[in-house]
């Protein structure tokens, strides 16, 4: 009956922007949380840990877990039993209630993030119209939990770790959010399902210079958000024991642990859904989606392909994270901050402009053409390269060019006085 109304009225237009929201949605949400909480997520995390240990062992020329079960495959289960049966120690003088609330907050944040990921067609647990914003909101809960964990432990290392963690999380949240904006611009929606659909039409978003840059920014910022090496300052063992969760033991520590790996998984899913075309196997081809018909078997087939490809991409992301972890060294605090504020943030801001250009070149036309796509590359590619170069140049030359000779810290290494002999 909407036609009955004057189509030019803003109200009517606003009403027509509809995606349904209601009890059905709430039900799916609840179901997802129950299923995920009870079985799926702990399982995923357990085997991620196993994988990490195996991978790290390979990198370091060891064998890794191999005692419990074949290839150590039962090791995670043994670990879980150990964690569950250990005593929960709460330090004297700690704030008991907050001490308990902190890991819960962190794990809830990780859980909530996963609820909107579109794994395949019809397989987004919850399709919220502003899903991306919701996702950011959910992930922004974890700094609070981390902070409370550090504060409530009444341990100076915990508090130090918490302060470091929060400063880092808050700083890197900014480039992270800014790197998502091109995707919102291209997808025309905050719904991850709509974004996936757009990627079916216009190719993976990473297959464009601004998308690539946004992906890289997102990748780096995510590593920092996840507190993983080389950004693991908040829990640097060699400096502050274990940072904010020094005083946690037993299952409460287990929750932190779970949350950490679950976040890695969630970020992997997010990056895959936003930049890497979700479950699409090839960048510019609609491959499994063009098989989609009305029949259920076809849908199942397509979904299986999509899900498999999606999980493969997530696996690659996770392996990449492990690789980074065993390869790179920890950064210093000031360099960490410098990197977020002076490199990533400006680049991410400029990148939004480039994303607009890409939109004009490629997406505005409404249909993907090879010519448009190439033209987009020709226009935005040099711009992106130039922007990266410019930001690096400004940081190296202008901002570090202060009083002569004094080495100021930068990401590129401490400057050495020209006259000073090395060693």
């Amino acid at each position: 009956m909407i036609e009955l109304l004057d189509p030019t009225s803003p109200l009517v237009w606003a009403q027509s922007q509809a995606v349904d929201l209601g009890w059905g949605l709430a039900l799916r949400w609840g179901l997802w949380l129950v299923v995920g909480f009870l079985g799926l997520f702990p399982g995923i995390v357990a085997y991620m840990v196993w994988l990490e240990r195996k991978a790290a062992a390979r990198f370091q020329d060891r064998i890794g877990p191999n005692r419990v079960g074949p290839l150590g495959l039962l090791q995670p289960i043994a670990d879980a039993i150990k964690l569950l049966t250990k005593e929960n120690l709460v330090p004297a003088g700690a704030d008991g209630l907050v001490h308990l609330a902190a890991p819960v907050l962190v794990i809830v944040s990780a859980f909530l993030m996963l609820a909107v990921i579109p794994f395949a067609v019809g397989m987004a647990p919850v399709d919220l119209p502003s899903g991306l914003l919701y996702l950011m909101a959910a992930s922004s809960l974890s700094p609070l939990g981390v902070f409370l964990a550090g504060w409530s432990s009444r341990n100076k290392y915990s508090l130090l770790g918490a302060m470091r963690a929060v400063a880092q999380l808050v700083s890197y949240e900014i480039p992270q959010v800014l790197a998502v904006i091109p995707i919102v611009l291209w997808g025309g929606s905050l719904s991850l399902v709509a974004i996936f659909d757009k990627q079916v039409e216009f190719g993976w978003f990473i297959a464009s210079p601004p998308g690539l840059l946004a992906f890289l920014i997102m990748l780096i910022a995510s590593i920092a958000e996840l507190n993983r090496t080389p950004f693991d300052i908040p829990e640097a063992e060699s400096e502050i024991i274990a940072g904010y969760h020094t005083e946690y033991s037993g299952m409460r520590f287990g929750l932190f642990f779970l949350a950490e790996y679950l976040s890695v998984f969630a970020v992997g899913c997010l990056v895959t859904a936003l930049y890497l075309g979700g479950g699409m196997p090839l960048p510019l081809v609609r491959f499994p989606m063009n098989l989609l018909g009305d029949s259920l078997p076809r849908l199942i087939l397509v979904d299986m392909v999509l899900l498999a490809v999606f999980m493969f991409k997530v696996l690659l992301f996770i392996l990449f994270m492990f690789w980074v972890r065993v390869t790179l060294l920890r950064l210093r605090v000031d360099r960490l901050m410098n990197f977020a504020w002076k490199y990533l943030t400006p680049l991410a801001i400029v990148n939004i402009l480039f994303a607009g250009i890409w939109y004009e070149c490629v997406i505005r036309a409404g249909v993907l053409t090879l010519g448009g796509w190439l033209w987009g590359w020709v226009v935005t590619g040099p711009l992106v390269v130039f922007a990266v170069w410019l930001v690096v140049w400004i940081n190296r030359r202008l901002l570090l060019g202060g009083p002569a000779g004094v080495g100021r810290p930068s990401l590129g290494g401490t400057r050495v006085d020209a006259g000073a002999a090395p060693g």
Binding site: A14, S140, W151
Partner: protein, 207 residues
């Protein structure tokens, strides 16, 4: 059902608000405040403004609470309690004023009968559901908007563009100003030392 949900959220929210105001330990108060923010976000969801709920969580719980906690950390003992805090002389009048304001507002809410074509505030009638398209003609009452992000975005970029730009400028100004105000100069004392800045001479007032 949904009323029960509302009541649970509302009671939690009000309890957190009270806790924020009453608890001496500031970090706990800030935590309670985060709880209040979260309850308000839940109310936004009940009001079918989930876009705003996400914003609320992102900004208040994710940023404002953290900022407040940093403020607490930097201004008092790390555990957030302050033994020197004296009872306020304003306590009783404050509570009385607050209750009076609440009574006035409550009276206003139930007494308001609605201007023009509007309904009374105290009216108990269901709001139009989030139907897609179906609009009963003749009912100029609002239906919910589902793709709120888009609608709000368009509104912010057309009708409210000045306000939007001004909000951006406001954030810039607040950031720049707060840094300028709070950054420590070299000659300032570090923690624990008395301030070296001479206190000003007393103000003279003639009798």
């Amino acid at each position: 059902m949904i009323r029960v949900l509302f009541l649970v959220i509302a009671v939690t929210g009000l309890a957190s608000a009270l806790a924020t105001v009453l608890i001496k330990n500031l970090v706990r108060a800030a935590l309670a405040l985060a709880g209040f923010f979260f309850a308000v976000a839940c109310l936004f969801v009940l009001l079918e403004a989930e876009f705003l709920a996400a914003l609320q969580v992102l900004i208040y719980v994710g940023a404002v609470s953290i900022l407040l906690m940093f403020g607490i950390m930097l201004t008092r003992g790390v555990q957030g309690t302050d033994p020197a805090s004296r009872p306020s002389a304003w306590r009783l009048p404050g509570v009385v004023i607050g209750l009076a304001v609440f009574a006035l507002l409550g009276y206003a809410i139930f007494q308001e009968t609605g201007l023009g074509t509007q309904r009374a505030w105290g009216a108990i009638d269901p709001r139009p559901a989030i139907a897609r398209g179906t609009v009963e003609p003749g009912a100029p009452r609002r239906r919910a908007i589902n793709d709120m992000g888009k609608v709000v975005g368009v509104e912010l970029m057309t009708r409210y563009v000045v306000a939007f730009e001004l909000a951006g400028l406001l954030l810039t100004a607040a950031l720049v100003g707060a840094v300028a105000v709070a950054h420590r100069e070299d000659d300032e004392p570090s923690r624990g030392e008395p301030s070296r800045i001479p206190s000003d001479p007393p103000i003279t007032t003639s009798p």
